[in-house]
Symmetry: C2
DNA sequence: CGACTTAGTGTTGACCTGACCCTAACCGGG
DNA sequence: CCCGGTTAGGGTCAGGTCAACACTAAGTCG
């Protein structure tokens, strides 16, 4: 307690500076607890310190001087889920003066995790998963951040090949469509969906067998840059 | 022992921290010095200190503890141009470890300035304007930042009503088209351009007169949100 | 074999886009 | 006062995309 006060008053006159943190919104698809339909989930961490002690918050931490921003985001991801992200991208830098009692600017990343890996997630103390659309009452301005991340995810999936971030290497068109339906929250016409996707996919020639109906073909993501993705990553 | 270390949880070096700066890419349209065609320009500041002393760099400075990010960007804009921006938006947070000898994370904004106001720009010591596509050899990673800002500008103008950031309150369709042509760097069909734009414009009823040809109608930007703009600004 | 289920194809009409032609309105000079 | 020049603004048409929906293909199960 005394330390908190000391810290907040730390830079009042002389050495007042701005703290820099990196947080990550981690998305995975899991069945909705009520409807059973695939939905977007994310892990949150229960705060064990003031401010906002006891509230849920996005995983993250202060930026280490030797770490790149994306590395920092990836490390918090590994720490909270034990997984490596399939897609990692900067979301936004949040820096309102009043977003925290002490002055902190958070650079937020968002990540996608495969369903297959998602199953291997080990329970981590103080970490719990929630349906992304239903979280509220988070610490700091994290409610706004989650909402914004969802908006970006839903917008970006319509013009950029990020859905593969949720899928294994090989997948059927139905699985791919399920990802889109889960993210966008509405049904898509299988026939039209197929036509839109087929150009960006590589057929593996194999089929998924063992089901009680016609076996669907397996595809792989075709990484040829049909359109410039316009994502800027600082790993160059 | 600073309490920052206690908070980070890692007992690393003593006072090693990350500095936080806010820079702004300021775009305006001016005639190209060779072709005379309207082109994208931006102001740069000559560095008077190491590192990169004598090199050109984006205007900016350290984030003040009492300032919001966007406010900081706007202040540097006023400082370097004496103008208020017509459009101000966060671009990206650049934080590579090796982008500067000392560890600095730069949160970069980009802004648009009206041509009319651009004419009133006062000469500021150590500030000079350049054709955006032709700058190179800047300090830090600012070459990359300018290139990325241009990419974003050119992408965003195609799906978001930001062109008005370059224009006065009332304008003709030819002026609006001139903005698009300058940014995109290619000619546009006046007839098709009209059809695409006309839905998002309000006719003022007035015309621009005094020219030696048919007087063009004056329009105003229609701010009805025909589509969600998906820009997140922290001013709420 | 036949019912059922899911994979995948064809077709159609509405809409958007680019290319291009045409008319409308204003000027200035014989 | 007509006439050519210039720019504003509208019309048309071919090609592509997209949603909607009917249809065929290929498996399993009884």
């Amino acid at each position: 307690m005394t330390l908190e006060i000391d810290r907040s008053g730390h830079g009042s006159a002389t050495d007042q500076r701005v703290d820099l943190a990196v947080s990550t919104v981690i998305f995975a698809l899991r069945p909705h607890p009520v409807t059973g339909e695939p939905t977007v989930w994310l892990p949150l961490v229960r705060r064990i310190r003031e401010p906002f002690e006891g509230r849920w918050a996005l995983p993250g931490g202060p930026l280490q001087p030797h770490e790149d921003l994306a590395s920092s985001a990836q490390h918090t991801l590994e720490r909270t889920t034990g997984l490596t992200p399939n897609h990692l991208e900067q979301l936004y830098a949040f820096g309102r003066v009043d977003r925290s009692p002490d002055r902190v600017v958070s650079i937020v990343y968002w990540a996608l995790v495969r369903a297959e890996e998602d199953a291997q997630v080990l329970p981590v103390p103080n970490v719990e998963w929630f349906v992304a659309d239903e979280v509220s009452g988070l610490a700091f301005d994290h409610d706004d951040i989650v909402e914004y991340a969802l908006t970006r995810l839903r917008a970006k999936i319509t013009y950029s090949p990020i859905a593969y971030g949720f899928l294994p290497e090989e997948f059927t068109l139905a699985q791919l469509r399920e990802v889109y339906e889960a993210v966008l929250g509405r049904q898509l016409d299988p026939a039209n969906f197929r036509r839109q996707m087929i150009g960006r996919l590589q057929a593996t020639g194999r089929c998924l067998e063992g089901l009680s109906h016609r076996p669907p073909a397996l595809y792989r993501h075709d990484p040829t840059p049909s359109r410039t993705t316009l994502t800027f990553e600082e790993t160059r």
